[in-house]
Amino acid sequence: MSALTFTLKHTINHRLDCRRLTPDGLGGLNLQQILQLKLSLQHNSPQVADFFEVSGNDTENIIFRNCKQLDYIGHKMSHGKITAEDDAGDFLGAQMQNGIILCKKNVGDRAGDSMRRGLILIDGKAGDYCGSRMIAGTIGVFGSVGNYVGFSMKRGTILLKNMPSLHATIQNCGTHTLPFLALLFRSFRSLPTAFNQIQTNRVQRFAGDLACNGNGEILVISS
């Protein structure tokens, strides 16, 4: 089995909603059925073949290439793995239920919005509102993040390599060595991610979002 790979045929000037292209949405479909799949449920929706070259057959392991304009990658996915090999658009992993999303470069705004479970690891930068309305799960951003990271997050962990600009309702809880990070980082070892460079379990912990009685955390890895 080889990874099911979606490569955008040509550069587009508009956003493209890819919420149907998940292991949940594509499981059990053959290549022909995937090419004919409508990208949305609207009557005049374009098909996958209109925009993508598709190769591979493993719907549990999906790769996107040339994906900067693609929004909602991994939306509501509940299993499997998705890799964005280039910049990804907005709402990466929004409402994610479980599974793994890897982004090798940068992502747009609201990555992990309302995600409930699962793991998103971004090797590059993330835009504004990363982890907004997060319910649980883990988001890691190796590069910088935009404003309002963790906005209205209830639970979950946002793991950052660089100190973000935080809004007032995310509160500093000090620097700590957290034992669970050893397990978390060990679980990353099977994944091709920049987080495998991390050699410490020491983090500065911010809790929030207190505006919604949140019990989430933003952990900034000590350098």
Partner: protein
């Protein structure tokens, strides 16, 4: 059967079914892992009075533990799953949660699960959080030294308790020295524990008593000071008897452990040990019979 001058009785140890579990305890260093494990397995010599039988199985180097810290594995056995669950949760709460830097993880895979931190998490008073890592749920409970990390559940398996053998020697020091040699050898084996103090028990019991409320009492047939007044099992030159009791995950684990222990005693020179025997109740107590001659490689 006689090995190096020590008579091996043609008898058997009688063991019964139990439920068992394994927990991995890690800490900042081995010293604190042992503090936690010793507390967890304290007052756990016999199900008769303690609810569970528990002991430290072995040390774990950092490379073998889930959180890459040094630790120890403990085994815990009870007569039923309900008691085991209750005892494990109680001991987790009082001995592991309380111990500085300690963390607890499942040490055995099984379809049957019992709680490690599933209910303990409520100690966090709403500040606890869970992490699902590789499909395994962990709980992080904020405590005064930082964070207590525990896996949600561990496995529970069918196990066997009550494997045993008796060391009959010409003096108390000789019996104890032989028992120590046996324990040292048996502690090298996985999947078994010897739950009594130092692995050795001096107060072997028989079923029943002259007192109606007592369901177990001293094993008078093996008490050297009663030789003249009871139907004794002891020869004139036996002055002390020590027993080693073994709980294990499988029949083979216990049989191997008994063999290694007895062989260690038989290798001693001028040990003062005259006989090795075993405790049984005529085959009426438990379904597992460990025949000493078979264990040592000879058909009786």
């Amino acid at each position: 059967m006689i090995i190096n001058g020590i008579k091996i009785d043609d008898t058997f140890a009688e063991a019964f079914n139990m439920r068992g579990t394994r927990v991995l305890i890690t800490a900042q260093n081995l010293k604190w892992a042992y503090h936690a494990a010793n507390a967890m397995t304290g007052f756990a010599t016999s199900v008769i009075g303690c609810g569970v039988e528990a002991g430290i199985e072995r040390e774990l180097p950092a490379e073998e533990t889930p959180d890459s810290r040094p630790g120890v594995s403990i085994l815990m056995f009870a007569m039923g799953s309900k008691v085991l669950m209750q005892q494990l949760e109680t001991r987790m709460g009082q001995c592991i949660l309380t111990c500085p830097t300690a963390a607890a993880f499942a040490g055995i895979e099984s379809e049957d699960k019992i709680n490690l931190g599933k209910h303990l998490r409520y100690f966090g008073d709403g500040y606890q959080s869970s992490k699902l890592i590789n499909g395994i749920r962990y709980w992080r409970i904020p405590v005064m030294d930082g964070e207590f990390l525990t896996q949600e559940t561990t496995g529970m398996v069918r196990a066997i308790g009550g494997g045993n053998f008796l060391i009959l020697a010409t003096s108390q020091p000789a019996a104890l020295a032989a028992a120590e040699a046996a324990i040292d050898a048996m502690k090298q084996l996985p999947n078994v524990i010897m739950p009594f103090p130092g692995g050795v028990v001096r107060s072997g019991s028989k079923v029943g008593s002259k007192y109606p409320k007592m369901f177990a009492s001293t094993n008078d047939a093996f008490c050297p000071t009663l030789k003249g007044i009871v139907n004794t099992e002891l020869d004139d030159d036996i002055e002390s008897v020590m027993e080693i009791v073994i709980d294990g995950l499988t029949f083979e684990d216990i049989a191997t452990s008994m063999r290694v222990g007895i062989e260690a005693i038989c290798r001693l020179e001028n040990s003062g040990v005259k006989r090795i025997s075993a405790g049984n109740y005529g085959g009426k107590l438990g379904p597992h019979l460990f025949r000493l001659h078979e264990i040592l490689g000879h058909k009786s």
